[in-house]
């Protein structure tokens, strides 16, 4: 068969780890574990990128996905109280889904395996120098408009996410009686009004879930 060193051990290892963690991410019962396996998958992918000598993208992947998206996912899991509940993974409709996924996989892999053109590609040209310097130049020169657009999209998404997830709780927005009515009730009669106001605010606050 091929030479021992010919088989890309490193790549296979990384790929194996990533795939296993991906499968776990999809199939584990406990959502938080799924989240963590997802993180592992992201790291595995980053490793693959490094393997493909694209450091900048690998580090970016780690920074963006592991640093931010994973945290987001985990937070969402917590906020939607899915941490405690354990899910039943398999149901009838999901088997259909599995079937379709396998079909898609087949339809993707089959052409890859059979197509003659891919074999003709050179094994591997020398590593292109993906210097950060050159990436920076490219970004700033050729891709400056997409960069600005991306900045715009990110800000919009940030604001959008905040607005969507914001809980506008009217009573909570007004924590204390406005100073104006406090003044006119006067210190003498302040206690009953004060207590009423405060008691109402405290009772209302206690009602909050």
């Amino acid at each position: 068969m091929r030479m021992l060193s010919d088989i890309p051990i490193a790549f296979l290892m990384i790929a194996a780890v990533t795939l296993v963690s991906a499968v776990c991410a999809m199939s584990l019962r406990n959502l938080v574990h799924c989240g963590l396996c997802l993180v592992l998958t992201f790291v595995g992918l980053a490793a693959t990128y490094l393997h493909l000598s694209a450091e900048f993208v690998g580090f970016a992947q780690v920074l963006v996905y592991v640093g931010a998206v994973a945290i987001l996912i985990v937070f969402t899991i917590l906020l939607t109280r899915n941490a405690e509940v354990t899910l039943s993974p398999v149901s009838q409709s999901s088997l259909v889904g599995l079937g379709i996924a396998i079909a898609v996989c087949g339809s993707l892999v089959l052409p890859l395996v059979t197509s003659p053109s891919l074999r003709r590609l050179p094994a591997q040209s020398l590593a292109p120098d993906a210097q950060v310097q050159r990436i920076g130049e490219k970004l700033m020169a050729q891709y400056v408009i997409p960069l600005e657009a991306l900045a715009l999209v990110l800000t919009a998404a940030m604001i959008g996410a905040v607005v969507i997830a914001m809980r506008d709780d009217p009573e909570r927005n007004d924590p204390s009686p406005s100073p104006q009515n406090q003044k006119d009730t006067g210190s003498v009669s302040n206690s009953p009004a004060g207590t009423a106001l405060n008691s109402s605010s405290s009772t209302s606050s206690s009602q909050r879930p």
Partner: protein, 395 residues
């Protein structure tokens, strides 16, 4: 003097030559990792004792002086204690994640040291995007905090974890932004090249970034954000004893607690290391005629100074409240770093001013701009926006 400077590099080469060929690459790796770990582990030990002694002195009391002469063996004692202590794992805890959390924190911490230039060509891996690697790995610490907090199934732990994550995320932004100023002026992400950019001497004064207006404010901002990132001093809210016991460390004891403790300190060392390389000229000597002294010496000298600074700050500044913490990050640090960026750009483009006193004018303008921003933001932030307290029952 050249040999003294390169003493470690030569030693390493010498040793690698000793090792048989096939394992040579393994040897080089180990020989660069080994010293790194020993040096910084010992640093961790020393820092713990120095910190406790210094805090004592600040608070008009002796630090630990029972173990060993002047208490110098105290870390040994602590370490021993940690190993001896029983490692409790709460019944309801998520065993796997509980176990993994400390490692998830420590491993990235160690990884961050791989890119720091400790001396002339004494960088473990000279990565092209070294700074990006540093922040990428740094970002994963939040995940470890979450794992710790969540897996221990303890309300206080979860609260601490949430606070920790919120703080770390909020302060990561100003941290990265302040470094962007340096990257912009130097033009490269690799740390040795940044140090290289600062190694020139002008009439004896080193051209460290800290001697530029944006460099000074950038350095201060970097340190503040770094402190928050490493849960140090004024920002050690996540494991604030008074409120939530030990935060996400509540359910940890024994060796895992020690790991967490070490992870934190390593985070601190990484931040100081990065601060030095970015702003204090890494391993360059402070004065031109001392240039021949060994580079790593200056790195560790500055390292010690900054650690002392952190300890000093820890001794004086009271802990911030959660909302103050948040407001400080988003409403003060981020705007200030952006302004800093502008000034850095101005500094860069005004480099070509030839008329006499150009340096002074540039300094004046840059510092003025940053100072102005600082003052206005400070005043804006300082408004007493809380309405007067309402004493319901007391009359």
């Amino acid at each position: 003097m050249e040999t003294l400077d390169q003493i470690f590099v030569l030693a390493k080469h010498w040793l690698v030559a000793r090792v048989p060929e096939p394992l040579a690459w393994l040897a080089t790796i180990l020989l660069s990792i080994g010293p790194l770990i020993t040096v910084f582990a010992s640093c961790f030990a020393i820092t713990t004792i120095v910190e406790r002694k210094a805090l004592g002195r600040i608070q008009n009391r002796f630090g630990p002086n029972r173990v060993g002469p002047f208490g110098l063996l105290q870390p040994l004692a602590d370490g021993l204690k940690m190993l001896i202590k029983e490692d409790l794992v709460p019944a309801q805890a998520d065993k796997v994640v509980h176990l993994l959390a400390p490692f998830a924190l420590v491993v990235p911490a160690w990884l961050t040291f791989s890119v720091l230039p400790f001396g002339r060509n004494m960088t473990v891996i000279d990565l092209d995007a070294g700074l990006l690697f540093f922040f990428a790995v740094g970002a994963s610490s939040e995940l470890a905090v979450f794992m710790a907090g969540w897996s221990s199934r303890n309300k206080y732990a979860l609260m601490g974890a949430m606070r920790g994550i919120a703080q770390m995320i909020s302060y990561e932004v100003p941290l990265v932004l302040s470094t962007v100023a340096v990257v912009m002026s130097v033009g490269s992400l690799s740390l040795p090249s940044i140090v290289e950019a600062q190694s020139a001497y002008v009439f004896g004064m080193p051209t460290w970034h800290v001697f530029t207006p944006w460099g000074l404010s950038g350095f201060i901002l970097f340190l503040i954000a770094g402190a928050a990132e490493a849960n140090r001093a004024p920002f050690d809210l996540p494991e604030a004893e008074s409120e939530i016991i030990a935060g996400y460390l509540t359910e940890y004891s024994g060796f895992k607690y020690a790991l967490f403790f070490m992870g934190e300190y390593l985070g601190l060392f990484a931040i100081t290391g990065m601060g030095i390389t970015l702003f204090l000229g890494g391993w360059t000597a402070p004065v031109s005629f001392l240039a021949t002294t060994p580079s790593w010496f200056w790195f560790f000298a500055k390292f010690g100074a900054i650690i002392a600074l952190f300890i000093w700050v820890r001794g004086t500044v009271p802990r911030l409240r959660m909302d103050q913490l948040m407001k400080f990050a988003w409403k003060f640090l981020v705007p200030l770093t952006l302004v800093n960026l502008v000034v850095a750009a101005f500094w860069h483009f005004s480099g070509t001013w030839q008329f006499p006193g150009a340096i002074f004018a540039r300094w004046l303008l840059g510092a003025g701009f940053i100072g102005g921003a600082y003052v206005t933001l400070g005043r804006a932030l300082h408004t007493n926006q809380f309405p007067p307290r309402v004493y319901a029952y007391a009359e």
